[in-house]
Symmetry: C2
Subunit: 503 residues, 2 copies
């Protein structure tokens, strides 16, 4: 068998696995957007049947043979072919090294864990949830062992979401970020302007959903989201799913918080632009899938924050917004609008946090996860450790575990190692942003004309087109010429928020 | 292995195959309702990947072993178990007796055939399409041979849609129907009332979509459609998909033809009520799937025609309809509305036909299909045969093939034998209707009070709850005490339409 024939058979098989995964994503999207309540049980059976079919395809012995054949001839592979083979090996090992019994147990425990978490959160009862979390930690350790990474289980978790990422690398970045960010947040929240921002936001009331919908559709289309290759719907929690020619975003509306739906849909648009920008012919291989959650998050955050909270963006969209909502906005000055868009207010809850304080919520979670995996922190001591860390980092101490350690769903089904991606995404976004500004200093002038095409074109070329050929850290170095660093993020937050709050 | 253990493993496997099929239905629903144009290619790949997974599950060797084991102990099976085993054997043979190459060829030919048909219809060019149709016929013959029914290939086609149905049985029913129906249609269309009905329908203009939507939702919910276990959306062609707790109907709106969306959604509601009424615990086995297309169609037609075109139905809904559309209906008398609801007008096009003439369109297609399979009619002679039959049966001769032999999609992908189900469904509906009236003579009084629960309850018990345990013909005999006959349909049409047109 020639290399090309083997490679071709390999990609056909891998694309089929990916295609089955996309069906699963569609089932998930439909569940959030369309499913009548009576369909829940059937949908669970559909997920299970599909997962079984996908696992069969992903662990087919033939795939292992093709991998061996191609790996033996590694030297003759092109760089692109090698990237594909490396990724297939990663996925194949994950599909075959974990025993079926273990996968079933982990899935069942994830489901039990989710319900136990929901109950514990409702009752503010951490003690009842602790055994579940202990079990989840134990299963994560097992999983790392099966994957041959028992010595560095937390690295194995991080690697699931961002290939190649290590706890040591994250710690270095986060320590530096924390050093600079904590005093900045203290200074901003002590500023009298912070109270003003709250007051302005409270004035935004009575924005009809239909007009909000029309506005955010105009905005997201102007940013470059292609509605012939995607759509936006309503769900309880905003998300983005799908890829290539069928990318589906969701948002949710509140007539008394019109900036929420707008910014959440711009956030999802960032994810969507990335998925729409992947090379269509290679969807499902490493050449046509995203580079990991950190890079994904960098795309959503760049559009949501650096772009859509800028003065240039609002110079263009403010008139249209006022025209759609004349009565609701007549008492609002342009400066007040800008303040509302960039309001900062420390909160106990991560998902409610502004972009300045958000990162500290992530640092907190990373530090606790790391200690849990190192055996330096016992699950039963988590609530106290959370309170202490929250006081130190966010400046607020939760009165209940519901507002503390029980607030997030992630750990309940064993998704350790996911949180850091959010903050790394913010760092990458800022670093990309300054690189873009260096290449095109008048970027905000583009925005003020409603032109986002240069930025999108640059991201298409520099980020989207590469798929998963490079890890997050490699990609940042390639695009910006420098290693990933928290300094661009700190600089960006100082520049934008310093100008507002620390005048 | 005990019988019960074997039976339990068999049902688990069969339900999984069914579940994968439901995912395919959802992909199809989503394609018609949501899919952005750019997603077409990915969706095709999803269908293909899923079909492959489903075929693997449906043809698993283990399923064959279980079947043999259970069939060897047939005498000890319960009646329900036997029904399940018979159905699994049927599906297993279909999945395993057709060689993979043949299935692939047929699928590819079906796709080519569809596009060839669409082109031929647009260009009114039957000659270009004839070779495709010849190939489809040849493949159908092959399929029958693989299934061991090469001697009766048309029966094998009918059996696909209605288990156990034969051409001889259909012919007997259709010959009798034709004899009585042709003169009835002639008399009705010669009536001066027919022109009046047309004129009234032409007056129904300017019904806003949102209000049409609200009205048909009220109506379909009142009939018994459970919107916690289903939904209704908009698509180009109305259809119903899904089963059990997740049944999805579609309709389409025309502001100048308000009865279209209403009756098409009541039609789909009939299908939906059937699917919602199947025994949920048995979904996917013969105890929890519909009894074939004729019975399915009987449910949609019964609600659409016998129920929703009745005076009782409109006594209840007319006030609400007028309240929603006061200006559009002020010049319309109650009698005119009833006439519009029951308008008869011969047309060349099957899908535009009223319920009286519709059946003749089906008889026409059945007679031609039968001759094609018997070798008594060559494909090249189809257009002329169609024109002659249309003149004889419908009383109209198409000037073009587009309005004649090229009007329907079914043959283009080899779906021979499907058409008869439509007319058999109408016969079954009428026969069930008179049985229901015999048991509850005041049925229309129920309707006039907005109460459809007795009828639905009766159908649930007599039809829905049996799944596929009985063939269409057996079911009719069980429920009505008589063999399936065209006479109830003829009687119903004479009574309802005679009273309007032949006074």
């Amino acid at each position: 068998m020639t290399i090309d024939a083997a490679f071709s058979e390999l990609t056909t098989r891998v694309k089929r696995v990916h295609t089955l995964g996309l069906i699963g994503e569609l089932l998930g999207w439909d569940e959030q957007v369309n499913l009548p309540p009576g369909g829940a049980e059937q949908r669970a059976a559909q997920h299970a049947a599909l997962a079984e079919a996908q696992h069969e395809a992903a662990s087919a012995a033939r795939l292992g043979e093709l991998l061996l054949e191609l790996e033996q001839q590694d030297a003759t592979l092109s760089a692109d072919q090698r990237a594909v083979v490396v990724q297939v090996r990663r996925d194949f090992d994950r599909a075959t090294k974990l025993p079926a019994d273990f996968v079933r147990e982990k899935a069942a425990q994830g489901s039990r864990g989710y319900h136990a978490w929901a109950r514990a959160k409702a009752a503010d009862n951490f003690a009842g949830y602790a055994p579940v979390l202990e079990k989840n930690l134990e299963l994560a350790q097992c999983e790392a062992t099966y994957l041959g990474r028992g010595a560095a289980p937390y690295d194995a978790m991080l690697d699931k979401f961002d290939p190649g990422l290590t706890a040591a690398a994250v710690e270095k970045l986060f320590t530096e970020l924390k050093r600079d960010l904590v005093p900045l947040v203290r200074a901003i929240t002590a500023s009298p302007v912070a109270a003003q921002a709250r007051a302005v936001n409270a004035k935004l009331r009575g924005f009809p959903v239909a007009d909000q919908q029309a506005f955010l559709r105009e905005v997201t289309a102007a940013l470059g989201f292609d509605y012939t290759r995607g759509r936006i719907d309503v769900s309880l929690h905003p998300f983005c799913s799908g890829t290539g020619g069928d990318v589906r975003m969701t948002t949710r509306f509140n007539v008394d918080a019109p900036l929420d739906a707008l910014f959440s849909s711009i956030h999802e648009t960032g994810h969507g632009l990335y998925e729409q920008g992947l090379p269509v012919a290679d969807l499902g291989t490493a050449l046509g899938i995203h580079a990991g959650m950190a890079v994904h998050e960098s795309q959503s955050r760049l559009w949501e924050n650096q772009v859509a909270r800028s003065r240039g963006f609002w110079r263009h969209f403010e008139p249209r917004w006022r025209a759609l909502f004349p009565m609701q906005t007549e008492a609002l000055s342009a400066e007040e609008l800008y303040l509302a868009v960039n309001a900062v207010e420390p909160t106990l809850i991560r998902v409610d946090a502004d972009e300045v304080t958000y990162n500290l919520h992530i640092v907190l979670r990373f530090e606790l996860e790391k200690k849990l995996f190192a055996g330096e922190l016992a699950v039963r001591d988590l609530p106290a450790a959370w309170r202490a860390a929250s006081r130190e980092l966010v400046g607020l101490e939760p009165a209940t575990d519901r507002e503390g350690v029980l607030q997030d769903v992630h750990w309940s089904d064993g998704a350790f190692g996911y949180f850091p991606s959010y903050c790394l995404g913010n760092m990458i976004a800022a670093q990309l942003w300054y690189r873009a500004l260096a290449l095109r200093p008048a970027l905000e002038e583009d925005f003020a004309r409603g032109d986002f095409s240069w930025l999108l074109g640059w991201l298409r070329t520099e980020v989207h087109s590469h798929g998963r050929k490079f890890s997050a850290l490699e990609l940042v170095r390639r695009v910006t010429g420098e290693s990933l660093s928290p300094q661009p993020l700190v600089r960006y937050l100082r520049e934008r928020y310093g100008a507002i709050y620390l005048r």
